[in-house]
């Protein structure tokens, strides 16, 4: 099992969709929300995800396809 700490940022058009529900159900990923700020026009969630590496990769690719930004919890790690 691999573990990831990520920050998901949702575009306004995805706020009403049960994104994390699908992440759990369709990709067999265990999720744990640690902190979040979801409003009518934007939202972010600090999320712990556990699963096998391939499932996590597929889940992240699916999130990106939905227009959800997936960042490490540290945000940008590459520094100029």
């Amino acid at each position: 099992m691999a573990r990831m700490r990520v920050r998901l940022t949702f575009p306004p058009e995805r706020i009403q969709e049960p994104i994390i529900y699908h992440l759990v159900k369709d990709f067999d990923i265990v999720t744990n929300i640690r902190r979040a700020d979801v409003k009518a026009d934007h939202g972010w969630v600090a999320l712990e995800m556990e699963g096998d590496e391939a499932s996590l990769e597929r889940g992240i690719a699916w999130l990106k396809g939905k227009g959800v930004t997936v960042d490490p919890i540290e945000h940008d790690v590459i520094i100029p």
Partner: protein
């Protein structure tokens, strides 16, 4: 004196012992170093600081190191230059330039944060340090690791030009080129930092690393004669520096070293990568990540880790923010060079240009005192100037030819007034 309490979550306030960790295990908020200020107050005075070394380590009682200084003994205490010519050009009474373009040893303020991070890495017993960087941070980590006899790994995107990494390679780190998009490289580095027992300076050592920036703020106050200026204009990339300058000033007040903090701190960013300034201008605590598109490469962080805290700092201090276009950035670099003889990197051009705009907006008044933060050296990245500069005169090797050229120049000068 026991000065370190440990670490504290910036969001939920949960306390942790001092360890190489950076994220709260409960709320995933960032951790920050927490101090016993009452104990520090007993031993730190203006005189004890003034009696210290002429480096950032004169403030070591306010930095998160406990043992001997392992590396970077000569970092910091850079010049605070009274910029008379620039002040005249900007129409201000009092302008100062805090000049970290001459910070030892790799010519940027990153030497401050890396010196603290690597000293702490030695304290914790690490033998390997790492970072993901395309510029100043990579230079500094590789140089300080060499000095400290630590192994170093530098991660870069594989498509980065070789010329950009020579100033890092010279120190003999292990350079790892990672294939993939920026996002993929970014995420991989986070995972590597999580898995390997290395001191990843801006990941698991971030609480210690970022504290090094406070020395920049301490120096401004001490070099101004133990007072805070009316304004400080700070370039923002990850957003940490502006928060630490502000923290430094508040700590000096907490310790009774100054009576009050009068500064407004302002954020300066490029228009092509300015998510923090956008937050300030829109007065929202929501950071919208951007894809950097600017010549200010050393500020090109589209999703800054401390963006929210940088916004809060500007707001708390009564400060503001300004964007600079690429053309304005070059003008800013040339203006500082022409007036003060200081060649800064593009980030400095951003800060000078933003200062000018803050003056035009009336945010900075004519009789106010201003410190402009210059954080890196122009000699490392002269590319943006290649097509902007040319020599004025070319002559044959004859004195008469020079006489004629000089006369031409003088008459041209008279015509231009």
């Amino acid at each position: 004196m026991e000065k370190l309490k440990g670490l504290k979550c910036r969001e939920c306030g949960r306390a942790y012992r001092a360890a190489p960790v950076h994220v709260c295990e409960f709320c995933f908020g960032p951790l920050e170093v927490d101090y016993h200020y009452d104990a520090i107050r007993q031993v730190v005075t203006r005189d004890t600081i003034a009696a210290g070394p002429t480096s950032m380590w004169r403030y070591r009682d306010l930095l998160p190191v406990e043992g001997d200084i392992a590396v970077g003994h000569h970092v910091g205490f850079t010049p605070l230059v009274r910029a008379w010519n620039l002040a005249q050009e900007l129409g201000l009474r009092e302008v100062w330039v805090k000049n970290d373009s001459v910070c030892h040893p790799t010519w940027s303020f990153k030497d401050r944060v890396v010196a603290v991070a690597l000293t702490k890495a030695k304290e914790f017993g690490f033998d390997t340090v790492a970072c993901a960087s395309t510029g100043n941070l990579a230079n500094s980590v590789a140089a300080h690791a060499a000095e400290a006899s630590l192994k170093s790994y530098i991660f870069i995107p594989a498509d980065l030009e070789q010329g950009k990494v020579l100033a890092t390679l010279v120190y003999n780190p292990t350079l790892v080129k990672v294939e993939g998009t920026y996002d993929e490289v970014n995420r991989l580095c986070s995972e590597i930092a999580d898995k390997y027992h290395w001191a990843f300076v801006n990941v698991n050592f971030r609480p210690y690393y970022s504290e090094g920036s406070k020395s920049y703020g301490y120096e401004i106050v001490e070099q101004l004669g133990w007072r805070t200026p009316d304004h400080v204009v700070v370039p923002c990339a990850g957003g940490s520096l502006i928060t630490k300058i502000w923290k430094a000033m508040k700590e000096f007040k907490t310790l009774g070293l100054i009576d009050r903090v009068t500064s407004k701190v302002h954020a300066a960013q490029a228009l092509g990568c300015g998510p923090i300034v956008t937050m300030i201008k829109n007065d929202t605590d929501v950071l919208v990540p951007v894809r950097p598109d600017t010549i200010a490469k050393s500020l090109a962080i589209g999703n800054p880790a401390d963006g929210y805290y940088a916004y809060k700092t500007a707001k708390e201090s009564g400060g503001s923010g300004e964007h600079a276009t690429d053309a304005e950035i070059v003008e800013g670099m040339l203006l500082l060079a022409r007036t003060e003889g200081i060649f800064t990197e593009t980030a400095g051009g951003v800060t000078v240009a933003a200062t000018r705009k803050l003056i035009e907006r009336g945010v900075i008044g004519k009789n106010d005192s201003v410190v402009i933060c210059i954080t890196g050296n122009g000699l490392k990245t002269p590319d943006p100037l290649y097509e902007r500069l040319e020599s004025h005169v070319q002559i044959r090797p004859l004195l008469s030819a020079f006489d004629r050229a000089l006369a031409d120049l003088k008459s041209q000068s008279v015509r231009e007034g």
